[in-house]
Each structure stands twice: as structure tokens, then as C-alpha cells.
Amino acid sequence: MLKHRLANFFSQYRLDYPRSLIYILQASEYDIGEYLTWYRQTQDFRRVERRKRLVYTPKAVCLLVLCWLLAVMLLGGTMMFSITRGWYVLPIVLLLLPVILAYGILIPLVLAKFLIQKPAEFFVIRNARTRLASHKAVKVSIAGSFGKTTMREILKTVVAEGKKVAAPPHSYNTPLGISRFIQTLNGNEEVLIFELGEHYPGDIKKLCDLVRPDIGVITGVNEAHLEKFKTLERTTATIFELADYLGEKRMYVNGESERARGALRRGHITYDRTQVGQWQIHHPHTGLDGTAFTMIKDDTKMELHSSLLGLHQIGPLAAAADIALSLGLSPEQVKSGIANTKPFDHRLEPKTDTSGVVTLDDSYNGNPDGVKAVIEFLTSLEGHRRWYVTPGLVEMGPKTEQVHREIGRRLAEAEIEHVILVRNSVTPFIAEGLKSAHYAGKVMWFDDALAAFAALPHLTVRGDVVLLQNDWPDQYR
């Protein structure tokens, strides 16, 4: 025990300690709150870079150099002082050095943010707003705690069958990210799709002021980012800032999200696996080869098939179909567009290896509704042995225990044959949920996700389905 504590203490004096600090700052997108939470929870500073490595961006290099300069200046100054005044200061500075570095590096970060970054961002965003105001395209905005990127990609794929469409790449959903994307537009786009990111109250309103959407989609409300919002009411209010902005304009809301449904207003169009607007949905079916359903309205019937997996995808697909039709696409174009939709990177993306094991990479799905949908999908698979691998979900705030117990309970009810848990602060709650629901399968534990991934090829056989649920960035414990 003493040996362990000593090892932890001296890990702050390793040469890679400054690099570890900068790495976590980078991993948390320079979110000081997230960085400080990690710092306060961390005792062992060895092997901080587990999932990824520090990327030497100009910002990271500057901070790293400043961190080392701070260390050298502190030690040098103390040595000079000690030579003339006595050595009693040196041990104190040595003792405090790791803490001074951890907090000291935030000073240039904060100064740069307010003196350089913010003013620069202000001008970039102002230019983008002006440019977008004169752009003729129909603007569709998507907000929600989960499923935004999937909705964006579905909509983009379907609308592209009949319109010139553009959307920011990756998860560019902040004012700066969207503004940079706006600079790349050539002006002839007919439809623009924006994903609106939310971290704090007021975020969506700010983005609406920038984007000025004509159509809105709310994909759902849940506990994602609850650590920052504190209450689900605040999350709901923030996401529905999009509805506030649109007023009477066309607003789609995911009816399968309980919280979103609870905030519905007159005139909103709900979508789910049974209907969207005036369309009724029939014959839903899903499997490892995709999802099929039929949309019927009056005399019009569309038999649709997508490579996306899970019945929960029917709602977003149907909403995209309805939006596309409202933008002037024909039913044939919509059918073709839906057929072109396929699983996106790390979002229930199936891969079959040479051993005949199907891996469903859902590592970008880290929200309770997504987990519920995926477990429902696993339940629908017959004749397969199923493996559920997860490090749990991050940023669940005060709901952490409840959310993870619920995951355990659902896994037990779905009779998933094998559950692999990665040791951290939240997975014990999943184990408790499994136990409380009398889970009869096998639970295996691994110290980190990489060890679990390495073991999986040795644990699985032909026909097995392995679900990789969520990622666990290094800044979380």
C-alpha cells in the first residue's frame, strides 16, 4: 500500500508529467472544468495517454513549452534564492511544483482565450452570420441530446437525391465550427443542414441567431451532458430554444424521447416508428442486413429499406423522408435516398471479420436512449450469441448510478449472453443492475478497453455478435 502511494506521489515528478497535463487539456477540448475534475480525481500520473496520444498542434506545443518554462524558472529561481538565503524554500517548492504546474498552465490558457481566441472568434462568427443571411438555401437545424449526427447524415443522404445539399463535417456544431464551414460554401447550395451543439443554457439560441433555420428537428432529450446542465429541465429548455426560435415554422420532434414528447407544442410534427405527420408506418423489420418499413399516406405508398440497423432508426428515416418530400423531392427520389443511407462511422456500424464474428461498432453512442435502442436491437437478433462490451457512459452527473443500473437491468432482461465491463467509476453500477435483475449470463472485467478489445478475438466464435458501446476518453476516471 505504501509502495503504491509512493509510486503515485512520484509519478508527478516524471518527465512526461507536463505532457500528460497538456494531453488532458487537449482531450477535454481545453475545457478547464473537465480538466480540473480529472486533475482532482487523478492520483497516478503514469500512463495517462491510454486511448490516444497528444497531438502536437501549435496550441499544444505552446502550452507544453510554457509548462516547461514555468518549471525551469521556478526551480532556477528557487535555487538562486536558496544559495543566498538558505535551502529551506527548496523542499517546499519541490513539494508544490506539480500543483503549481497543473494550475499555472491555466493562466496563459485563460489569457489567450480572452485576449486572442474570443476576439478572433467574434470576427469569424460575425462574417459567417452576414454571409449566411444572404444565402438562399433552406436551412435545417438539428438539436438534441443524442442522435444529431445520425439525423444529419440521414437527411443529407436523402435530400442529396434531388437537391444540392451541404452540412458541416464531423461534429462541427459550435458557433466557431459552423462559421468556419460557412466560409467554405460556394453559394449554390439549395439545402444546408446544421447540427446544433449544446453544453450550457443559451447555446442553442446563439446558434439559431447565427444559422437562422427554416426547419427544425429535435432528436430527443436525455441525461447527456447532465454534468453541465445539472437538471433535465434545463437540458430540455436549452434544446427547445430551437423550437422557441422557429415559432410557427416546421418543427419535427422525436416522439420516442419521453422528455422531448413532454415538451411538445401545438403545430410540432412528431416522428417515431409508427408515424410521421400524416404518414403511417407499417411492416417494420430490422436485422443485421438493415431495416425495412412501409410509409403510407392516402394513396401514396413507399416501401423503404435502409442499411441502418435497429427499429429506432425508422423514426429519423421517416422524418427525413417527410422533410425531403416537403422540399420537393419525389417519392422515388426519397426511396433511393433512404436506400443509400448506411451506418455511419462508429454508430452501430457492422463489420464482419474473417472468423465470421460480427462486430457492431457503436463507440460514438454514449447516451442512455441510444443504449436502450441498441439493447432492443440485440434482443431482436435470433440465433446469435451476443457480447455487450462497455466502459459505461460519461457525464451522467447525478443520474450516473441510476442510468448505469438501468443498463444492467436491461441487459439482464434482454438475456445478453456475455457482458464485458471495463473497470472504472461507473461500471460497478451496471454490475449491480445485472445482479439485481438476476442476470444469468457471464460477466467479464478488464482493466481497460484496449485489453478487452485484444481479448475479444479469443473469446468469440463464428456467428457471434459483439457490440462495442461507447468510448471512455482518458480525462474521465
Binding site: 465470421g356 485484444a454 478475438p457 479469443h458 473469446l459 456467428g463
Partner: protein, 388 residues
């Protein structure tokens, strides 16, 4: 937690293949269970023994200069004291006692029974075939002689030693000429298809024999099976052998050589090529039944235990099945094949460990020594210090 020593490397042409087998799947699967303390025991090409847990990661053997790095390490010694103990000698001597040995050595000094003899002497349970099956299976000619005596179909062949060839070339050539050509020339002790050649005329034959005798001192020449379908059948178990899937390699060359087996696979194939084979082999049901029957019979006749793989040659037009050879340590345990019949690598190594313990327990019940008065009765003088 049981302590397992995985032996690999060795003074064999299949040294590198052994490193792959040891790690994928053996060490990685043992570690994945979380139930074993795994000690990798690496035997270098010069015969030196090393054991270091850093070698549990195959990346160790992919780094530049790994052989030099290993050579700088302290060599490990083996202590037999009614069990197997690894000893790192020195002032701070360290010892670790092993509960189970898991041989992962292909070819000479490993798969040929040598290591099994050592482990029997140590009185430690060990995975895989015992010394007798290993020694016979290592000699392709001897295997065929044993199988032929038991009525298992094999391809007609002629065998000879280097000395025989040098002394009686004409006589042997006469015998060989009577076989139906084309022929295969094979060193009898080497695995992984090393130095095997198909010959169609006498100059090719002499050249192939010269090459084969460069690698081995005993060679066999056998008839080539035309309209050939090659299949292989991994089998595991002690008294009740259980076959895996019948596997058919897709040959790019005329026969399944070393490169096909180990070097042309993909990243996820686990060492042995899975991209170029079909499991289960799409062959006639009657042929498949014969393969399973002859396979399990061969396994029993040779006294195999734990795991082995029986290779077959099928004359597809005449529907004639021949047992070609037996491999007592299939590369990477043919884990890719076991997966297709529902046995994961982890389950495979766990079963093999259980088979090893079962066989060991059975051996413990056998009586090997008994008291006798033969020394008293023998007409030898009593000790010089005794009274006359």
C-alpha cells in the same frame, strides 16, 4: 490462479511459427481468461532458455534487435523436484513453480517428443500429445508404416536415409520408378511443408532428394494423388476425440506450402491462413464421413491426446481418401477452425489444459515402480565395506 509455462521458439526451422502459435492464440487466450499466471519460456535458436513476462506480448518479438535484447537477459534454468520450477540463478535467486506446461514448439526438439520427455521427467501436466505420439507423428514414414499396419489408407511410398541413398542409389531409384508418377519428395521430420517438392521426371527427382537430404537425414518419396482435394481435420480430446470442421485450403500453388500456411494470411487470421481456406469443406457427404472416421481412427492409433491435426489427400474422381500426415501441434492450434464449430480460443486453451490435467491424473494412478528382491538375487558382490 494456476501458473502456466508456455514453451516456444526452439532449435527448429519452425522457430518463428512457434512464436506466433505461442502468442496467438495460446498466451493471449490464457491471459484473456484472467485465470492463469502465464510465464512465456522462450528457447532461442542456439538452445538458450529465457523467461520474462515482457515476452507475453508478441510485440516484443517484432521490435528491432529483439534477439540481441534477449541474449543480454539472464538465462532461466529448470529444476525438477517432483514438479517443474523455473530458476533465475544469482545472488537474488528467483524461482517460480509451474502448475502446467503448455508446449507451443513446432518441429524438432519440441513437437518431436523431446520436450514432452523432459516434461514427463519433471512430472508436470503438459498440454498436447505425449512423447510417443509426438515422436511417431514427427516421422512421416513411420506414421505411414503404423497407419498401414492398422489398415488406414495411405499413399504408396518409398523411404530411405541419407546413408541408404548414398550407398544404394540405383536400387532405390528402381523402387521409386515403380511408383506411379508424378511423385512427391519430402523430408520425413520437417513440418510446414518445408523442402517438399513435386517431381515429374528423374532429374527433378534427384534434385529434390538432394534438397530434402540437406534438411533431413531421412526422406520419403510418395505417389502424387491426382484430381486432388486436400483437406485437414483438427481433433481434440483424450479418450473421446472430437473433430473440428473439415477444412479445405484453397491452393494458389500446386500444393499447400509454407508461404500459403503462414505468410499469406491476413492480419486477423491469427497466424494461420484463414482467408485461403473453406470450413466446412464443400465435399461429398460420404467423403466427409470417411475423413472424420479415418481422422479419429488415426488419432487413436497414434495415441494422440490433447490436440492434433490429421491431413488428408482425396482422389476426387475415384472418391478415395488417404491419410497424409499427422501434426501433433497444429499451427496456432487451428483456432480459426475451432471457432467455426463454436469453440473460442479461450475455450480451446481451457479444454486443452483440462485434457492435460486429466491425462496427468490418469498417469499418477499407474504403477511404475515396485519392490523386488532382484538385487539380492543377482550374483554381484556386496559392497566393499560389507562382511564376507
Amino acid at each position: 490462479m494456476k501458473t502456466v509455462a508456455v514453451f516456444f521458439g526452439g532449435r527448429s526451422s519452425e522457430h518463428d511459427v512457434s512464436i506466433i502459435t505461442a502468442h496467438t492464440p495460446i498466451i493471449e487466450s490464457l491471459l484473456a481468461t484472467g485465470e492463469y499466471d502465464v510465464w512465456p519460456v522462450y528457447i532461442a535458436k542456439d538452445g538458450s532458455w529465457y523467461a520474462d513476462k515482457a515476452m507475453n506480448n508478441i510485440a516484443y518479438f517484432k521490435q528491432d534487435g529483439w534477439e540481441t535484447k534477449i541474449a543480454a537477459q539472464k538465462k532461466v534454468q529448470i529444476l525438477f523436484d517432483n514438479g517443474l520450477t523455473l530458476v533465475w540463478p544469482g545472488l537474488m535467486q528467483k524461482t517460480v513453480r509451474m502448475d502446467i506446461a503448455f508446449p507451443a514448439m513446432h518441429g524438432t526438439y519440441g513437437e518431436d517428443g523431446s520436450l514432452m520427455g523432459l516434461l514427463r521427467m519433471a512430472n508436470v501436466p503438459f498440454v498436447g500429445c505425449d512423447i510417443f505420439a509426438s515422436a511417431v507423428a514427427m516421422d512421416k514414414a513411420l506414421t505411414k508404416q503404423v497407419l498401414a499396419a492398422e489398415g488406414v489408407p495411405i499413399v504408396p511410398f518409398v523411404w530411405f536415409t541419407k546413408h541408404d541413398w548414398e550407398q544404394n542409389t540405383d536400387e532405390l531409384k528402381e523402387k521409386i520408378v515403380r511408383l506411379r508418377w508424378p511423385l512427391f519428395v519430402k523430408p520425413v521430420h520437417l513440418g510446414s511443408s518445408i523442402a517438399i517438392a513435386k517431381v515429374k521426371d528423374e532429374p527433378q527427382l534427384e534434385n529434390a532428394i538432394e534438397v530434402a537430404l540437406h534438411y533431413d537425414d531421412k526422406v520419403l518419396v510418395e505417389e502424387s494423388v491426382e484430381n486432388l482435394i486436400e483437406v485437414t481435420l483438427p481433433i481434440m480430446g483424450n479418450d473421446e476425440p472430437r473433430p473440428a470442421g473439415i477444412e479445405r485450403p484453397f491452393n494458389k500453388a500446386e500444393f499447400y506450402d509454407f508461404n500459403d500456411k503462414y505468410l499469406s494470411g491476413n492480419k486477423t487470421g491469427g497466424g494461420v491462413n484463414s482467408q485461403y481456406s473453406e470450413i466446412p469443406a464443400q465435399i461429398d457427404a460420404e467423403l466427409a464421413k470417411q475423413v472424420e472416421d479415418f481422422g479419429t481412427r488415426t488419432y487413436r492409433v497414434l495415441g494422440c491426446t490433447g490436440i492434433a491435426r490429421v491431413d488428408f489427400l482425396i482422389e476426387s474422381e475415384r472418391k478415395q481418401v488417404y491419410v497424409n500426415e499427422v501434426n501433433t501441434l497444429p499451427g496456432s492450434l487451428y483456432a480459426h477452425n475451432w471457432k467455426t464449430v463454436g469453440i473460442s480460443s479461450v475455450e480451446l486453451v481451457q479444454k486443452l489444459v483440462a485434457f492435460a490435467e486429466e491425462r496427468f491424473a490418469a498417469h499418477q494412478n499407474l504403477t511404475y515402480t515396485f519392490d523386488s528382491d532382484i538385487l539380492k538375487k543377482a550374483g554381484i558382490p556386496k559392497s566393499p565395506g560389507g562382511t564376507a
